[in-house]
Subunit: 393 residues, 2 copies
């Protein structure tokens, strides 16, 4: 046995995440490790909270990164806010709603599913109907930006309906944070979780979360212990919280946090509004190119996420072959369909650092080339020009 | 608000972990991010399993890093192997046994505690007595290398006793992996978890685990679902396992895995036996210096961990003041006591990359200086020489 150092190829990441990571973030990862109880590290944690509050647009004191990927952020929300016997309405319009149901049930809760078509936003009326039919519901959960389909739901309206029926809300903002408006305080979201590897353009592995005062109240007054020791916010807060003396809980992933700090500094420098506008602009350019080619979006225009573009695979085209050639000939990664959409769509991310005109042009040009080679029924040689026009406008 | 990039100081990490990280590992972290489903990344995962099997000395197919810190590795073992109503004997001789108890109870299990003095190894006779008194026990759990006290238990003997009573075994090897002999197959350990930030000298944030065929059998035949979705090995195996088609579970922490891969390549280059011998040699040098100064070890000689040295604070000395001066004047981090040992001991790590003669000399010289300034009752100016003699021998 003799395994050598691993040197990855230089990809362009335009799938559903991870997205291209800024060189500044990569460099930050390699800074010297310090102890997780070092006073200098504690100052980093304080700054991290300020930066995350800005990204989430919240004043919530309980705002921090969970030391594990987005699915652990999701689980942190559910295990802390759902107690055995609690009824939870889950609005599902893609893969991640199903994962929420799993979480509810593994907490001993009762999941009531409200189904919407994949590729569409969650229908507020269906949620209200479900709440009327289930007045004992405690929590409403939904995905703000469905990574599996590219659909965006109206989080503000859904939260308002949930609150009318005295429910707490859990919102999946994995793909929305930093890419499309997300206003935790203005929308009165109670619990929200995200990932670092989407529109923050950081490496995967951490999950920013934020909890309202109402959510914290519920956690403090639980009748049962949180079933996860690692994710128990009553304990985590002793470390990340504003306590005068921080209590050791677990060893924080120091260098990963350097990376997230740098990604959030970059976001602060650009400004959240500017980042949202940039994602929208590059999305419109990609759309112009796709439409010029004759390719179609899965999601209706007013429900589309700018950072995740689900495109229908043209009839007769082997979608996996296209992705394989893009990767081998262009070092370009785009995403496959997930769940019910497997084989039917491509998911093209324009997230964070990767949301830029160069990537829009590269992706369109590469798709034009590869689809041409495979004799797909598209209009050739027009996509990049169409995008350029949009970028100039 | 205007927060700047974070530039940590260059510390020397001789606490209970994180330990000094090799520059090779830091550089690996900053390599370009690729997708978690990229074929090249899949080859990295395959290599990672081979390297971890070597480090654990096992042929277990279910050997991989959990995408979260060591406490999540611990929880992964308990939530998968303990079902509601299962009786679990936990041998406690430090802080981490108490955390095991928490895990058992949060899984709905019944924890039977076997207590040993802090700073001592687990007594095999007490375990056997407890098993005789509790013939319905399903699992025995203990800490191989207690990070809170520096005591090492005889894992092979404890596992053999547990098996005599038909119990599965969960072994905490957070601080032992790579630093002191740990032979998962030869000792017949069923489930073992470790951390990356101790003797592997990698950054914190991942938890290598390994499960025997018997443990896997138990997991496959559970009557209840694993309460954690994120940690459910039935699902994780679809991604990390040998399946022909890997199923997406969660987004792996790509760059953190680059770091662990590099740390394991370094371990393979040195050779496990050589790494163990190096830890022992540097421990003996530190011991010679400490004893020359008149400082005393907490743990009896035959139960000491070479990589974690718990030293009694001399009477009248303000232990926190010593650590503060070491950090400010020498950039040297050593650890405080934890739990019942808070205020009474220092924990000096010689782990992984940090286990080297330069650090031994630096630590002894710095302690000599600082204790002198504080008028502590020690023998001055002899420690480094004593260590040097040991290093030459």
């Amino acid at each position: 046995m003799s395994i050598k150092s691993f040197h990855p190829p230089q990809r362009i990441l335009m799938g559903p995440g991870p997205s291209d990571v800024s060189p500044r973030v990569l460099e930050a990862l390699s800074r010297p490790t310090i102890g997780h109880l070092d006073p200098v590290f504690v100052s980093l944690m304080d700054e991290m909270k300020v930066l995350l509050k800005y990204a989430f647009q919240t004043g919530n004191e309980l705002t921090m990164p969970v030391s594990a990927p987005g699915s652990a952020g999701m689980e942190t929300c559910f295990v802390n806010l759902v107690e055995p016997g609690d009824k939870v309405i889950v609005c599902q319009n893609g893969v991640f709603g199903a994962r929420m149901k799993e979480n509810v049930e593994r907490c001993g809760g009762i999941a009531v599913m409200v189904q919407d078509d994949w590729g569409r936003a969650v229908d507020p009326q269906k949620l209200e109907d479900a709440l009327k039919a289930n007045p004992d519901t405690r929590v409403v959960a939904f995905v703000h930006a469905e990574t599996s389909t590219g659909a965006q739901s109206d989080a503000q309206t859904l939260v308002a309906i949930a609150h009318k029926y005295h429910c707490l809300t859990i919102v999946d903002a994995i793909t929305s944070l930093g890419g499309t408006p997300l206003k935790v305080d203005e929308w009165n979201i109670d619990a929200v979780y995200s990932g670092t590897q989407k529109c923050l353009s950081c490496t995967p592995g951490l999950s920013p979360v934020s909890f309202s005062a109402q959510a914290q109240e519920k956690i403090k007054n639980r009748k049962t212990k949180v079933q996860s020791w690692f994710m128990d916010l009553n304990l985590v807060m002793g470390y990340w919280g504003g306590a005068t003396k921080r209590a050791y809980h677990h060893t924080a992933p120091i260098n990963a946090l350097y990376g997230l700090h740098e990604a959030l500094v970059i976001l602060q420098e650009e400004g959240l509004q500017n980042a949202w506008a940039r994602h929208q602009k590059n999305h419109l350019a990609l759309r112009a190119g796709m439409e010029a080619m004759g390719l179609k979006f899965v999601v209706p225009e007013h429900e589309r996420l700018p950072q995740l573009n689900a495109i229908s695979v043209p009839e007769g085209v082997d979608e996996a072959a296209v992705r394989t050639i893009l990767l081998s000939d262009y070092n370009l990664e785009i995403g496959a369909g997930l769940g019910a959409m497997a084989g039917k769509v491509w998911r093209i991310g324009l997230m964070g650092h990767a949301s830029n005109p160069r990537n829009v042009r590269l992706c369109l040009g590469a798709l034009d080339d590869v689809l041409g080679r495979l004799n797909a029924p598209i209009h050739h040689g027009v996509a990049v020009d169409a995008a350029n026009q949009q970028l100039v406008d």
